[in-house]
Symmetry: C3
């Protein structure tokens, strides 16, 4: 290979590694954003018309996502003590698009006894797009793991 | 350094970073593979004669691993609602071989009440090898964390 | 760009990716270090005068951190069966310094029944510095998630 060819190859491979790290970071960022009540930061994980399709209700666009963060049910959870833990994202890159499959957990402080409960285990599929501001989520589908086929279909390796 | 030397150094360092990302991805992939009942995908995480040495029974080779995924105990767990969460792999690279130490958890839906239980916390040691198809697991040793020395020995920093 | 400029850019970008991977590894390493009772390894995650400021007591310097690992409360936890799970570190790089925000969990074996309990969910903020021996922790602040503002302040996106 010529020097030019080696540089081209390095730039392409490094960009893929950087994409993986940036996407991992974006998926992980949902936890601290939502648990600190950072409504705008949470909404900005998504594209302006991004969709968060979760079994507790579909949220379309940044305004609805921010409103969920600021709403009473979520604020009650924060005041009680909770953590949204994002686990082990599996990233499939395709140029300026990416798909992520991952688990997330909602951990909630127990009121009556010591310790914490695993309130939810959720299967997630994320569709991402590269924008001028970096990677953003176009659609996140999230379904609680309840033994039914739907959450498994979100996680199934292609 | 000459341009050639800088290119050589970059290629070597980038390859190590790519190896880390690929190995992280492989270890994480066990969760969705086994939880979706993807027997062949689960088996293909291992080399053809790879060993999954877990306290519930040693599985030798891809056929035995695929049979575990398709067997009644695991299928019952899937139908009930479960998640194998792979956490924080610690990777030691050594050319075409690698060792990984990590925790994993089995989270299971509670039948009687709401929420989920942490059914197992497991210590893991993985021996990996680079093949023509990418990194594969030659041996995974997994022991439930029960206070005994064996799971600690798997996780102990070298 | 000239070949020199392309090499310079590649070297800088690769160093950032390597820093992220190394910092992720360092943060993750706390779990196996402390759970295997590896007092010196745990202490060496920190700088020589590093501080681990946790709600159960502030530890200043490697000697105090090693003494905590070797102390009766922690040794009792190890003998009973426990795991410190480090989750989803969010890394902000700034040259030779870095800040990490992350969750951690303490999982403890249940004595009376089967399975494990989530004994603690903890919010963490880490201040790191690049040393001649690699990245080290200057200060880790850790607060249990109890609904109060302090743990949220540690996790809040900047």
């Amino acid at each position: 290979m010529t020097i030019e060819e080696r540089l081209d190859a390095l730039e392409g491979r490094l960009r893929s590694a950087e994409d993986r790290l940036a996407i991992m970071d974006l998926v992980h960022s949902y936890g601290a954003a939502v648990d600190t009540g950072s409504a705008q930061v949470t909404a900005d994980i998504f594209t302006s018309d991004g969709v968060y399709d979760v079994d507790t209700g579909l949220l379309a666009g940044r305004e609805e996502i921010a409103a969920m963060v600021e709403g009473d049910p979520h604020q009650g959870l924060i005041a009680h003590g909770c953590g949204h833990l994002m686990t082990a994202p599996q990233i499939t890159l395709d140029g300026d698009r990416a798909t992520v499959r991952s688990y997330s957990q909602l951990i909630v402080r127990r009121a009556s006894t010591d310790g914490f409960a695993v309130a939810r285990l959720t299967a997630n599929q994320w569709e991402l797009i590269r924008t001028d501001d970096g990677w953003r989520v176009e659609r996140r589908i999230a379904r609680m793991v309840d033994g039914s086929a739907e959450p498994r279909d979100l996680l199934r390796p292609q």
